[in-house]
Each structure stands twice: as C-alpha cells, then as structure tokens.
C-alpha cells in the first residue's frame, strides 16, 4: 500500500491528459489541464511526507518536540498552485476570444490553422 499516493498522482495526471485529448469544449479542456496540474501537487506533497510527523510550523509547536515533514516540497507546491491559477486565467482569456471570433468553443469546429 505504500505506493498508493504515487499511483493516485499518476492516475490523476493520466486522466487529465485523457480529458484534454478527448475534450469537446475548450473551457472543459482548460479544466482538465487544472486536473493534470493537481497531480503534481499530490506527487510533491506525497514525496515530502514523513510517518507520524507534523507540519514544520512552530507557532504552536516547540521546535524539536515532534518530527516534521519536508517543508521544501510544500514551498514548491505553493508556487505551483499560484502558477496553475494564473495559467488557467490566461488560457481562459484566450478561450473567451476564441469564442468571440470563431463563434464556437468546440475544438473540432476550429479550422483556421491546418497543414
């Protein structure tokens, strides 16, 4: 059972990719990209976990009294969350313009760029 968290991360990533490849709506596709990204958070935090440990936040904890989990991955995941939110915003802005100019958000109906 000790690989379950990693397998969940892999599953979430793959399922997001599947959704992205088969999406019929660009807003849905951007949502699927957000799902792909949540896989990276799960992986990072799972990597940093330590059995029986607690968060390395010492406002209500005496330093050294309990084992703590890896703070580095948490900082990385935090950065990653911000990146994810902003990328979502930029991509949604592009989807809005596509819907205005093409009159559709179905990738199957976009035919401007080919060959």
């Amino acid at each position: 059972m000790s690989v379950l968290p990693y397998l969940v991360a892999a599953w979430v990533f793959l399922v997001g990719c599947y959704g992205l490849a088969t999406s019929r709506n660009l807003i849905h596709a951007v949502g699927c990209l957000a799902v792909c990204q949540s896989a990276t958070y799960v992986l990072l935090l799972a990597v940093g976990y330590r059995d029986g440990a607690t968060a390395p936040v010492f406002s209500d904890l005496k330093p050294g009294s309990r084992p703590v989990v890896d703070p580095v991955v948490q900082a990385l995941a935090l950065t990653d969350v911000v990146v994810g939110a902003t990328v979502t915003a930029v991509l949604l802005a592009l989807v809005l313009q596509i819907s205005k100019l093409h009159g559709t958000v179905d990738p199957d109906e976009l035919s401007e760029l080919r060959g």
Partner: protein, 86 residues
C-alpha cells in the same frame, strides 16, 4: 502506510479528479472542480501541509470556479440571443 485518513483523502481526490474529467459540460465541471479543490485541501491537511491547503482553498473553492463560470456565461450569452431571435 497504515493511516486510513490518508487513504480516504487520496481516494476522494482520485474520484473527484476522474469526475472532473468525465463531466463534459463546463458549468457542471466547474462544480466538480470546486469539490476537487476542497478535497485536495483536505488531502494537503492530512499530509501536514497547511500552507498549501490554505492556498488551495483560496484558489480552488472560489477563485477558479468564479473564473470558469464567468467564462461560461460569456460564451453562452451570444448563443442565448440567437436562440431567442429564431
């Protein structure tokens, strides 16, 4: 890995992520994504990452759904008009 709490949180994440992909209508997907955000925050708490959980809550429970729903509204609006004109 004997902590059932972590297992439960992981399964919830896997389930809601799958649902977020399987639900094809963007408005309904936004609902699932909001739940995914909450569930992820719970998972992060269980993995002892309260800082990440806080930012996931801040982003996932209100900001991302609002962005997606505003986009859905904008994309739907012209279509509505055409339908009423017909």
């Amino acid at each position: 890995m004997d902590d059932p709490l972590i297992v439960v949180a992981l399964l919830l994440v896997a389930g809601s992520a799958t649902a977020a992909v399987a639900v094809r209508d963007p408005a309904r997907q936004a609902l699932v994504l909001a739940v995914l955000g909450t569930v992820l925050a719970v998972l992060f708490t269980v993995l002892q990452a309260p800082d990440v959980a806080l930012s996931q809550l801040a982003v996932g429970s209100a900001l991302t759904p609002l962005l997606i729903m505003l986009s859905v509204r904008k994309v739907r609006r012209p279509k509505r008009r055409e339908e009423t004109e017909r």
